[in-house]
């Protein structure tokens, strides 16, 4: 499995050549609480790195989702429409959100240890 990289807005990516999978981190889902709905883009949409691409609604609040990478959306996890709780139960697996075809360079992102430190600081 490819290494996961993390953004400071609590998304994760895995990269396989030009194919990038995007989700939100376990820390993010635990902070959001039970997810009830996701407002997501359609495949084909072009995203800039750092652009808000959708919204995750939890019981507590609506939060924007940001793409850690620039590129074109090639797939959206359709399971999430019926089972948004996959974000909570399996954020790094079946709870993936988008697949993006990378345009340009992969931006600077945090590795596991760096993100862990960052999330711990954010959690207190």
């Amino acid at each position: 499995m490819a290494d996961r990289r993390y953004s400071k807005t609590h998304e994760w990516v895995t990269v396989d050549g030009k194919n990038v999978t995007v989700g939100i981190t376990d820390f993010a889902q635990s902070q959001l609480g039970d997810v009830v709905f996701l407002d997501l883009p359609k495949p084909g949409r072009k995203l800039e790195a750092g652009e808000a691409f959708g919204v995750v609604e939890s019981v507590k609040a609506a939060s924007d989702l940001y793409s850690p990478v620039g590129g074109r959306v090639t797939a959206v996890n359709e399971l999430l429409a019926a089972k948004p709780e996959l974000i909570n139960s399996d954020p790094y697996g079946d709870g993936w959100i988008l697949k993006v075809e990378l345009a340009g360079q992969l931006p600077e992102l945090l590795d596991e240890a760096e993100y862990k430190k960052f999330a711990e600081a954010a959690g207190h």
Binding site: V36, D39, E57, V59
Partner: protein, 349 residues
Amino acid sequence: MVDFGGWELPQQYSSIRDEHFAVRKAAGLFDISHMGRFRVSGDGALEYLQGLLTNDLAQIGPGRAQYHLMCNEDGGVLDDLVVYWGEEDFLVVVNASNREKDLAWMLGHAPSGVDIVDRTFELALVALQGPKAEAILPSSGVADIPYFGFRPGEVAGTSALISRTGYTGEDGFEVFVEAAQAGEVWDRLLEAGAADGLLPAGLGARDATRLEAALRLYGNDMDESVNPYEAGLGWTVKLGKGDFVGRQALAAVKESGPKRALIGLTTAPGDIGRHGAVVSSGGRRIGAITSGTHSFFLGHPIALAMVEAASFRVGEPMVVEVRGREARAEVVKLPFYRGSARSAAAAKS
């Protein structure tokens, strides 16, 4: 953990969804020790409370509890609370966020001979709520306690005051114990209910269940700028019982009719109207959402909204602001869900 009126409370123990379903299908256990609790005693205590609160204590008696509002002279709601009429004194349970304000107000209105003592930090309060609460509660004879009745008893070997009240729309009990025993009672209750599906439940499940039952939350659905008739709580105001703080103003509101009304709205899945979201009808802004959440149990979002009174009609389409866009909403009858709580009429007597 979230801050709630200065108390650190868990939003959830496991998952809001699971805890919410447990309360509706089996039972949930809430730690509500943050609620303010005052002991009111003395020869003039009954008369004093009658002159301070909106409901009529003459309709109950020792061993019974009653829901009240405490209003200011203008008829604005200072707090909603429950009065427990004990053998020797009254126990008044108020919202955590209003405890200090309420205590100052109550002391300011108390005549000599009436004693008011804040017992919040000596007593713990846990709520066992759900259709299986009666079967789970390890205490003998609780089946005989009527809705909004209470009595002293023993829970898990500890002296307790056991009250058939709650804030979820379900049958259940609120159990007052000395703070030092709270941990033991909590653990024993969870053990007693484990086989029946009892779960510890946090603020998230408490908010969702109270909202489904259309029970008002002070600070969201009402405050000092709202009168009881606007909040749909006119049934707690007994204008005929004699004078009380706010009576004159409230009689005038009743005479002219309230200008606003608290209504129930539902929206499509995903369109959660949050507190403060604008509500419109026919292109015109008519009010705002006061409480809104996704109801896991009902499968769609629900909301209470304070709107111009004339605009209220069940089935009518409305528009609610959700994430900066307009979402369709429909006016529905309250409550959104009627749980196992014993006859609501008994609570209103």
